[in-house]
């Protein structure tokens, strides 16, 4: 799939730096006090927020004894939907259209932006109100609207904070979790012309309520995403907390929802699973304050015009890969971000992607057919915390490894890649490790050659090249003079297995210490 490069495109904002470099900068930002354990303000904010959500999530999933059954059902429903995706999209289209809605199909970001502009044109709005939508971020809609003289007003509190701060979202459920209340106060005081605003969250929320109320009552067009589309009723489901969503969905004359094609569910009834798993996973609540479910343009209740833009933008090719197709089961709860020890350290910006965290690490490169963000599949220690919390059982570590193999194959297909340090090292290691004689011989060689690197304390404190990444913060034990294999051969006859008491005491060896 060809990546787009027009103004307002996501790659204007994203995917400029590789993850290790972006993460290094994130970790180095606002240099902390001399202690290596002190975190900068941003890192403290991220850590605090993810700890709070994670603790709440753990409590409300643990109390539900059928949690695993709900995960299984959720995973199965989403997997089934993806396998029959075209069928369910057509069913959605038919039912939603029958109820007065209009469906548009956008094969890529440029087409989605063009469709939005075409829908807006007859209404000629100066402003549009927006509910938090990842798809809008994905297609770079705000920049596009501004280019056309239309001011997008984010109404989700966190998105408003991010927008007023000319910042980027760092988390797709709580986009401003990296920002502290003092920073919010300063932003609001300036933008809302309230110099006496305090930094109490109550006051800040009241200020946002006052600031946005008239916008809700008077702005004729709203733009949203959607959490789910329902094939059997032509329904749309939007889950939120603040009521800004309901304002945007019910008060304006025109509503445009930009929705990824994978977001459809077969039946209205399927929500009985996802409205249990999504809130508990996303915010650690048993239910978020508001869910709206409706279809088309019901008479007198809500917008007169309702457009759903079904966005492909790199999704359909992902279906072809049976291994990584599960990525599209995602319901955007962000539980994997909150659980991820890498995300805890770097926050969302280091992923240089609309979708951060573990799910971003597998979704982003695939949305670009693996031609961008190749460092993201490596942005994980494969600890498995993401898989453990995923409410639709996406085996993220498995997909990460699968995508790593695609990156490796890409590298090996070029001359520079195949002659690169990593490939040569891994090839050499594989050559040694697959043979019973080569590996012990290599260990013997290393035992002899390491002396130049081993400090007097018996540890290696400096290594060259890429390995210096290890020794920058960590010592490495030197190889002992005798490997286990050699000890066994020396102390026990090679062909007869041991039996209790029949052999010298293993601890009696004098060579097991190497100081």
């Amino acid at each position: 799939m060809k990546r787009e490069t027009q103004p307002g495109q996501q790659n204007q904002h994203w995917n400029r730096r590789d993850f290790p470099e972006a993460a290094r900068q994130a970790l180095a930002a606002q240099p902390a006090a001399d202690s290596p354990f002190e975190h900068s303000q941003t890192r403290r904010n991220v850590r605090h927020a993810t700890d709070v959500i994670q603790a709440k999530r753990n409590a409300v999933t643990a109390e539900l004894h059928e949690w695993q059954a709900l995960r299984r059902a959720g995973a199965a429903i989403r997997a089934h939907t993806l396998e029959h995706l075209d069928h369910y999209l057509l069913e959605f289209e038919a039912n939603y259209t029958r109820r007065g809605g209009r469906v548009h199909w956008a094969s890529d970001a440029a087409e989605a932006r063009r469709l939005v502009l075409e829908i807006l044109a007859p209404h000629a709005p100066r402003e549009v109100i927006k509910v938090k939508t990842m798809t809008s971020e994905e297609i770079g809609l705000n920049a596009c609207l501004e280019d056309h003289g239309i001011r997008p007003i984010e109404t989700d509190l966190a998105e408003l904070i991010v927008q007023l701060g000319h910042d980027r979202p760092s988390h797709f459920v709580a986009p401003a979790l990296h920002i502290s209340r003092g920073q919010v106060r300063d932003l609001f005081a300036r933008a809302m012309r309230q110099p006496n605003l305090t930094d109490s969250p109550d006051d800040l929320v009241a200020a946002a309520r006052g600031y946005l109320r008239q916008k809700f009552l008077t702005t004729p067009v709203a733009i949203s995403g959607a959490n789910f589309l329902l094939a059997d009723t032509g329904g749309v489901c939007i889950v939120e907390s603040e009521g800004n969503g309901r304002m945007c969905l019910t008060l304006p004359d025109v509503l445009i929802s930009i929705v990824g094609i994978e977001k459809v569910l077969p039946r209205f009834q399927d929500l009985e699973v996802f409205l249990q798993t999504l809130p508990r996973s996303a915010t650690g609540e048993r239910m978020n304050p508001y869910n709206s479910i409706w279809s088309g343009t019901p008479t007198g209740d809500g917008p007169r015009e309702f457009h759903v833009i079904l966005l492909d933008n790199g999704r359909s090719p992902i279906l072809a890969d049976e291994e990584s197709r599960q990525t599209l089961r995602c319901i955007r709860c962000a539980a994997c971000l909150n659980a991820c020890p890498v995300y805890h350290q770097t926050g969302g910006h280091a992923y240089e992607s609309v979708y951060a965290g573990p799910i971003g690490a597998i979704l982003t490169p695939q949305l670009h057919s693996m031609h961008a963000a190749q460092s993201l599949p490596y942005a994980s220690s494969l600890c498995g915390a993401c898989y453990e919390v995923c409410p639709v059982e996406i085996n993220i570590p498995e997909v990460l490894i699968h995508l790593r193999s695609q990156v490796v194959q890409q590298q090996q297909s070029t001359l520079t890649g195949s002659l690169g340090l990593w490939n040569l090292a891994m090839q050499s290691a594989a050559f040694l490790m697959r043979d019973s004689h080569r590996l012990p011989a290599a260990v013997h060689l290393a035992q002899r050659l390491q002396s130049a690197l081993v400090s007097r304390n018996g540890f290696i404190e400096w290594l060259p090249g890429p390995l210096s990444g290890w020794t920058k913060t960590r010592d490495l034990p030197a190889l002992p003079a005798e490997s286990f294999r050699d000890w066994w051969q020396r102390t026990r006859s090679a062909n007869s297995p041991s039996s209790p008491g029949a052999h010298p005491n293993p601890e009696s060896s004098t060579e097991q210490r190497h100081d």
Binding site: A49, V52, E66, A69, R72, A73, A76, H84, L89, L90, W105, A106, S107, L157, A158, I161, A174, A176, R181, V184, P201, V205, A208, R209, L212, T233, G235, S241, E242, G243, R246, M247, L249, T250, L251, I261, P266, F268, Q269, E272, V273, L275, T283, R286, N288, P289, Y290, N291, S292, I293, W294, P298, D301, G302, L310, D312, S316, P317, L319, A320
Partner: protein
Amino acid sequence: MTNPQSNSRQLILDRIAAALGRDTAAAASAAPADYAALPRDYQTATPAQPAQRIQKFLDRLHEYNAECMRVGSESEIAPAIAATLTTRSQSSPTPFWLAVPSGIPPHWLPASFDFPLADPLTLDELNRQPGILTACSVAIAETGSLVLQSAPSQGLRRLTLVPDFHLCVVFESQLVSAVPEAFARLNPDLPTTFISGPSATADIEMTRIKGVHGPRSLHVLLVAD
């Protein structure tokens, strides 16, 4: 001239079919049987004593900072509403009243108060209503949720959104234990809103703040029936 829309539609459908290695018709014919075979080993009906169910519902409402009153019969609704209006009017510096959607049974409404009809109000007028009174379709104990549908006595979706105070009448027979039981009772064809506590946000340092854009006060009148 070709319509770019129909092109993109077909393009996307073709891409999906190609990626999955079969045509759309095959997906359509296989879908019902495959769907029926999906594992659903979670509970769809929770056996709970009515008293436990009610207690759980009250606990959840309390956690959400929603107020709850209980009355023993439908005939006590009007006096309870009158009491709410009196208390609220005394504590509020500005006049307080409740607007109502069409379809609210007249005998719920105490005679000495005005209950303007909310349906025909413009947005600006609605924004000047201090409170709204509605019924609901079903309530869920496990999650402390009220579910409203666009139907008589529950009203259009905006009515329970714009005014700052929402009083919702719930009959005990409308209260179910868990989410799947609620879905079994809902009409999938009506616009539906789940309301679980007053609107809230935790976007600033994860501190939960009650009342952002929706009603800041949510009151529930639970009626034995």
